[in-house]
Amino acid sequence: MATEGLQENETLASLKNESESLKNKLEEERAKLHDVELHQVADRVEALGQFVMKTRRTLKGHGNKVLCMDWCKDKRRIVSSSQDGKVIVWDAFTTNKEHAVTMPCTWVMACAYAPSGCAVACGGLDNKCSVYPLTFDKNENMAAKKKSVAMHTNYLSACSFTNSDMQILTASGDGTCALWDVESGQLLQSFHGHAADVLCLDLAPSETGNTFVSGGCDKKAMVWDMRSGQCIQSFETHESDINSVRYYPSGDAFASGSDDASCRLYDLRADREVAIYSKESIIFGASSVDFSLSGRLLFAGYNDYTINVWDVLKGTRVSILFGHENRVSTLRVSPDGTAFCSGSWDHTLRVSAGVLVSVHILKT
């Protein structure tokens, strides 16, 4: 553009100045745009009213700390595991225990319900993930039919079935995740990349069902392609171990809870963190997070025995729930979003449900 050479009143310096001031002007305009849009966004989202959430069921029966739980697709059954090696399947609605297995190890940190509702998987300090078909036959010992599926070189921290009973995804203290075929116990794919223990994972609810996210002690959350085993995205903004990750219902984002007492939301398409949910009065780590059905609320269980409910869009805390007498170690919303279940080191699980007292419809 400047091929004609300098004009009469222009010097190199003055041109530079001009370009600087133009740049600044551009930034200013951009900033104005920021403000307008931020303002718009914050405006569009009305604050939520008061919540009335109460514990509706208390499941007692574990003799020691409850470490993990998962819902069955029938929306009322759950499986839970504890420090003393017991894995119990409950009909949470009636609070009846339907099955109980004693694992040969303590600290069963992971458990999952199969999509069909016919089996459960669990594991922990035994470095393995085992699948137990659920049977009501009184003559059968559940432990007899157990299938040892996954083998890691350190403790199992999380496990989840994929879309069927036939495949399991596991995360381990050995820093890797792995995909296994249940029937043969064969390793189908392994995922290396974390620099420390992997503590949690969650499968993407996407149409093509090909990715999952994991969080670890290296403060990183990594998104993996299940087919190739490659890490396709990575996020490192937390200041301490990531204890829990959970996808937003649409699959476009995920939330994480960490020992740094904050929960964060990461947008996958923008490839960045977009929100931090924290408060000065919350000084204990978040152990477990999950979204409500619409994704508007984020439930997070903390090591200070409480559950904080966050407004995902506004970033504010909506409610704080007390009730547990020791740290909340696991929290999941039920498949139809009617309730959530929290498990704690106080040996109990609580199913809580409630509703917004005054509903604000989002402005369009």
């Binding site: 920021h34 966004v41 989202v45 697709k73 029938d74 059954r77 609605f93 009636t94 009846n96 339907e98 600290w107 999509p115 509702g117 016919c118 659920l134 009501f136 069927s164 009973d165 036939m166 203290g173 820093g175 075929d181 043969s184 189908l188 420390a196 223990d197 002690c217 171990d241 219902p249 649409s250 476009d252 020992d259 740094d260 007492a261 904050s262 977009v274 931090i276 924290s278 408060k279 000065e280 009065s281 000084i283 780590g285 059905l293 619409s294 994704g295 508007r296 609320l297 200070d304 409480t306 869009l313 007390f322 139809d336 979003g337 309730a339 959530f340 449900a353 509703v355 917004l356 989002l362």
Partner: protein
């Protein structure tokens, strides 16, 4: 937590310390439980309940100790006096423990509680060589304490007692320092405090994306039982399972909300067993039902048993891909060629391209047409809106909680890969049993 404690102790913004009264003794430089709660409420803008909870944890973790009822580490929001604990190094040597127990032993003239006596004897064995030193130290400390002023004595005793309660809790009691299994490479779990309170970051580039969250929340808000309640009622609240009965997998008449959800996305439609069946009916009318069958068969390969893959791929080939096959699917020639080549070396993801192609075909073509079809419109018209459960006349009478058959009971019929829908719904048999209407 350290930062909170430091703030509390700060002479400018911290808690005002005064001389507190404990019965007749004046304790210098202490604060009341009430002071602590008030300060927390002020500082963090939280409720009294939350402040009390937080304060209790601070006491349990040993940062503050009570001067009254020193045996229980509890914060009472009243005039009971409290003081800040002197933090010592986290490693407690055997020697220190031994001296403490020896003092107790002397004071109680040998009448220690069993777990203390066990610990005492164990230490006696372990560090026998320095036992004289231990006893001498213990005696010396006891003598020195007798010479102190009463106030100082009370303070030091409570301080010591609280310290040991936190660091060496009696067996069976709550152990605040328990951490769970050892984790590799992790930072000190004592929390690093963060600066700003509620931070919400939105970047310009993400605005377009944040719009999508907003849309999703808005769209699903009425379907979210926690946000908007559910009709007839939330089973967990009223003990009435009507909501589940009405929304069971294969009911004759679905609810309006459910049918509306089918219009949100293609996934919503086909993952709902009822929606799925409706869609199949529609496709049959259009003579393109083989598309959905093909897609499902592919899902089955992807998520099914590893050992059955070659067999399943062969079936798919025969049913859907061979020219002239009964359910031949219309894939573009390039994809078809690639797929056919791929089958020669069968693996789980061989069908991915073809499956994706057919999926998007259904999503972009058949699905929108379905939503405009009479079939869907009729379904929407006959869908019901449940009545809200009337409050029972006797509100204190609890409804009987009916149990339901476990999905595992019907495990024997068509289990494993073949029958279980890739959509991950529970076995079809379950739906059949749940459709009985409960009183």
């Amino acid at each position: 937590m350290e930062r909170v404690i430091l703030a509390m102790q700060d002479p400018n913004v911290g808690i005002k310390m005064r001389n507190q009264r404990l019965l007749i003794t004046v304790i210098p430089h202490a604060m009341t439980g009430n002071d602590i709660v008030e300060w927390l409420i002020q500082r963090f803008s939280i409720t009294e309940e939350e402040a009390l909870h937080l304060g209790n944890l601070i006491v349990k973790y040993g940062y503050i100790y009570p001067l009254k009822d020193a045996k229980t580490l509890v914060l009472k929001a009243d005039e009971s006096p409290y003081r800040f604990q002197v933090m010592k190094s986290p490693t407690i040597s055997n020697l220190i423990t031994a001296i403490y127990l020896a003092k107790k032993n002397i004071r109680k003239q040998g009448d220690l509680i069993d777990y203390e006596r066990d610990a005492y004897n164990l230490l006696h064995k372990r560090i026998n060589h320095t036992w004289d030193f231990v006893v001498m130290q213990a005696r010396e400390q006891l003598r020195a304490s007798k010479q102190r002023r009463k106030a100082d004595r009370i303070v030091l005793d409570c301080q010591e007692q609280a310290y040991w309660l936190v660091n060496r809790p009696p067996p069976g009691a709550f152990d605040v320092l328990e951490r769970g299994p050892e984790r590799g490479n992790c930072l000190n779990s004592r929390v690093q405090m963060r600066g700003p309170s509620v931070a919400y970051i939105f970047n310009n580039e993400t605005f377009a994306f944040s719009g999508s969250f907003f849309k999703h929340c808005e769209q699903y808000q009425v379907h979210d039982p926690i946000m908007s309640g559910c009709l007839p009622s939330n089973p967990w609240i009223t003990d009435d399972t009507m909501y589940w009965t009405m929304n069971a997998d294969l009911v004759a008449t679905p609810t309006k909300m459910r049918v509306e959800r089918w219009a949100f996305s293609f996934m919503e439609l086909i993952r709902d067993p009822l929606g799925h069946n409706e869609f199949v009916h529609f496709l049959e009318k259009e003579f393109s039902a083989e598309n959905l069958s093909f897609w499902e068969a592919c899902e089955d390969v992807r998520y099914g048993e590893y050992s059955k893959i070659p067999e399943k791929l062969e079936n798919i080939y025969q049913q859907f891909l061979v020219p002239g096959a009964s359910k031949w699917v219309n894939i573009d020639s390039k994809t078809m060629d690639r797929t056919l080549q791929g089958i020669k070396a069968p693996h789980r993801y061989v069908m991915d391209d073809a499956q994706m192609h057919i999926y998007f075909l259904m999503k972009k073509d058949s699905y929108p047409r379905y939503l405009k079809s009479d079939l869907y419109k009729n379904m929407l018209a006959k869908a019901i809106v449940p009545q809200e459960t009337k409050k029972s006349v006797f509100p204190f009478m609890r409804r009987q909680r009916h149990s339901s058959p476990s999905p595992a009971l019907t495990a024997h019929s068509g289990e494993d890969d073949g029958k279980s829908k890739s959509a991950g719904s529970p076995g079809g048999a379950v739906a059949a049993t749940i459709t009985q209407v409960e009183e």
